[in-house]
């Protein structure tokens, strides 16, 4: 393919591509790598806490008993505003109840079994979602990086006029930067649909709050909830006066008999044990990209209608589809494995982009060992930091300071490489450290060693 793009346009696209790529490189690499690892979010939770009770399904009555038991265990504490029941699904066949105060696993009979301990999985998800920055700031920053991937994809295509024509040429054994450039360009082309889908859905999720604030300011008199309501449904008014516990069992029974084709994934009980309490069931629809439909029930378990994520307005279906499309949980293990493969490819594209730029400068006679060592520290330091946080979780337990360990290592390793030992090039040394960390984590995970 030889599109009619002028040399000047190609050069400007290359400059723009490099500018965005280098500006975003380290954090974009971290976001892509954590995003790839977190595809197995459910599996990581099972590895973290292998002895939690598992079940293929749970009866509505057992869920009712479990909800009552959890609320009874919180007597004397401020009333929880929301109670979530994670229902057993194929990837995570566990029933877990989360309130404002605790998260516990329950057994198939609805008895409280043990506290949920999935700190590493949660840390990993939050690192990808928000760089572990609390509030909406982190999510928004990650959303901006999604926008950067969109701009990088466009500029990359224009900067390489032969990128499609050469799409199957991979000179993997060439030195002097040819092989590196081929890996970068080939993986970019063939993961383009995936990268665009991931970038667009990721930036929609990340920038969703900013967009909603904009919508609220322009159309809803600054009421952000009102801006979300046409898509996700609105919250009911609260009435805090006491009332008997809502009939969750009746709601689940209604869903099972009226919609046997769907599978409940979450029960959400709003303002439990108050007169304003109501129930929402989120249920997966087979062969749909939407995360689920929200079925609404009153406190007595009577059906009040659904929000319309499955068959309502196109906008609702679109918004509900962004999450599964982004995280790859719409087709079981085969789709997850494909997401790991393409996520890894996208991570390699980001990593090789900066390496190509450094290589070009080196070939032009610019000797910059600190820059090179720093980038080696990023590429191999982030996986080391991730692996060591996992090791810390296994050895020190659920309370290990994972965020502090991860970010200290992520920042310290490149700095040490840059200023401690930029020459000889520290790449091999850091790679060996990564392999050692990986082996240590593997041994500890397999043997079940723990210091707590």
């Amino acid at each position: 393919m030889t599109p009619a793009i002028s040399k000047q346009a190609v050069q400007r696209a290359l400059s723009g591509h490099a500018a965005i790529g280098l500006l975003a490189s380290a954090l974009l690499y971290l976001i892509c790598l954590t995003g790839t690892v977190v595809v197995f979010y459910q599996e990581w939770q099972r590895i973290e806490q292998p002895d939690a009770p598992e079940m293929a399904a749970i009866t509505p009555d057992a869920v009712q008993r479990a909800v009552a038991a959890v609320l009874a265990s919180e007597k004397g504490k401020p009333a929880t505003t929301h109670l979530y029941v994670h229902m057993p699904v194929d990837g995570l066949p566990r029933t877990t109840i989360t309130t404002d105060h605790q998260a516990v696993h329950v057994d198939a009979d609805g008895r409280i079994a043990m506290p949920e301990e999935n700190a590493w999985s949660e840390f990993l998800l939050h690192a990808h979602y928000a760089l572990n920055i609390p509030g909406l700031v982190g999510m928004t920053i990650v959303g901006i990086f999604g926008v950067m991937i969109l701009a990088l994809s466009l500029s990359g295509i224009v900067a390489h006029p032969r990128i499609f024509r050469d799409a199957f040429r991979l000179r993997a054994r060439d030195n002097h930067g040819v092989g590196l450039a081929d890996w970068h360009n080939r993986l970019s082309v063939w993961t383009l649909p995936f990268s665009l889908a991931i970038a667009l859905t990721g930036s929609m999720i990340g920038l969703g709050a900013v967009g909603a604030y904009g919508l609220a300011a322009a159309f809803y008199k600054n009421d952000v909830e009102a801006a979300y309501a046409p898509i996700f449904g609105k919250e009911h008014g609260a009435d805090a006066s006491p009332a008997p516990l809502a009939n969750v069992s009746a709601a689940l029974t209604w869903l099972a008999s009226n919609h046997p084709e769907v599978r409940p994934t979450y029960v959400i009980l709003h303002d439990p044990q108050t007169r304003g309490q109501h129930i929402q069931l989120i249920a997966e629809h087979p062969r749909r990209l939407i995360y689920g439909e929200t079925y609404q029930f009153g406190a007595d378990g009577s059906y009040h209608g659904k929000v319309g994520m499955s068959d309502g307005h196109m906008g609702q279906q679109l918004a509900a589809s962004t999450y599964n499309l982004h995280f790859g949980n719409y087709g079981g293990l085969p789709v997850k494995l494909a997401y790991i493969l393409f996520g890894l490819a996208l991570t390699v594209v980001v990593a090789t982009g900066t390496s190509i730029w450094l290589g070009k400068r080196q070939r032009r006679g610019l000797h910059e060992p600190r820059l090179r060592a720093g980038w080696d520290g990023v590429i191999w330091g982030v996986p080391i930091a991730l692996t060591l946080t996992f090791l810390a979780r296994l050895l020190l337990g659920n309370g290990a300071p994972l965020i502090a360990i991860f970010w200290t290592l992520t920042i310290a390793i490149p700095l040490l490489a840059m200023f401690g030992r930029p020459e000889p090039r520290p790449k091999r040394l850091i790679q060996r450290l990564f392999v050692a960390a990986l082996l240590a984590a593997l041994i500890v995970a397999v043997t079940g060693m723990s210091m707590v």
Binding site: V147, L150, D166, M204, L207, V335
Partner: protein, 193 residues
Amino acid sequence: MSETAPLVWIGAAGLVAAVLQLRRAWGLPRRSAAANGIGWALMLVGAALALAGNGAWGLAVASLFGMTTAALLLAHAGWTSPKGKGRASDRKAHMLPDKGEPRRLGRRLLTFVLTIPLAFVAALLAALGVRALAGMAGWSEADGNATALLLLPLLWGILAFWLLMLPRRGAQCALLAIPAAAGFGLILVGGAI
């Protein structure tokens, strides 16, 4: 996936065939519009069939087959490629100055301000403008709001790329001003503010 519509599998097969055909077409000694066309047509038909079979889910699943086929072909190309003597590109990206070149920090900072915060503002105003237009055209609030949330990152990404392609500051400012002004005008007409 036991009840997956047959059209999804046929579409997936079409996408696999499309990638194989493009591999053949792009490997020909001379460019063949017909061979390329068959490849792209297979891709379109495969995608359309998967979409018709199980909607967006079908398309997403089928596209994974196409990309996996390409990944396998690439793995084969990488595995069998001989050790070459090709010379890598030295094209300058002009990201950092070479020795003796001015740093032009002010110019770089201005480019950053135009591409990140100002392009964001322009994209947000344009997305909200489309939302206002959708409201005036009788779209539901859900469709209008979701469109705005989709357009915000999409327009921002396109603007960031386009701005970097423009050689003059005036053209860059115009590229930001036009969607921003149009969006703001539409919000004033169709919004609540």
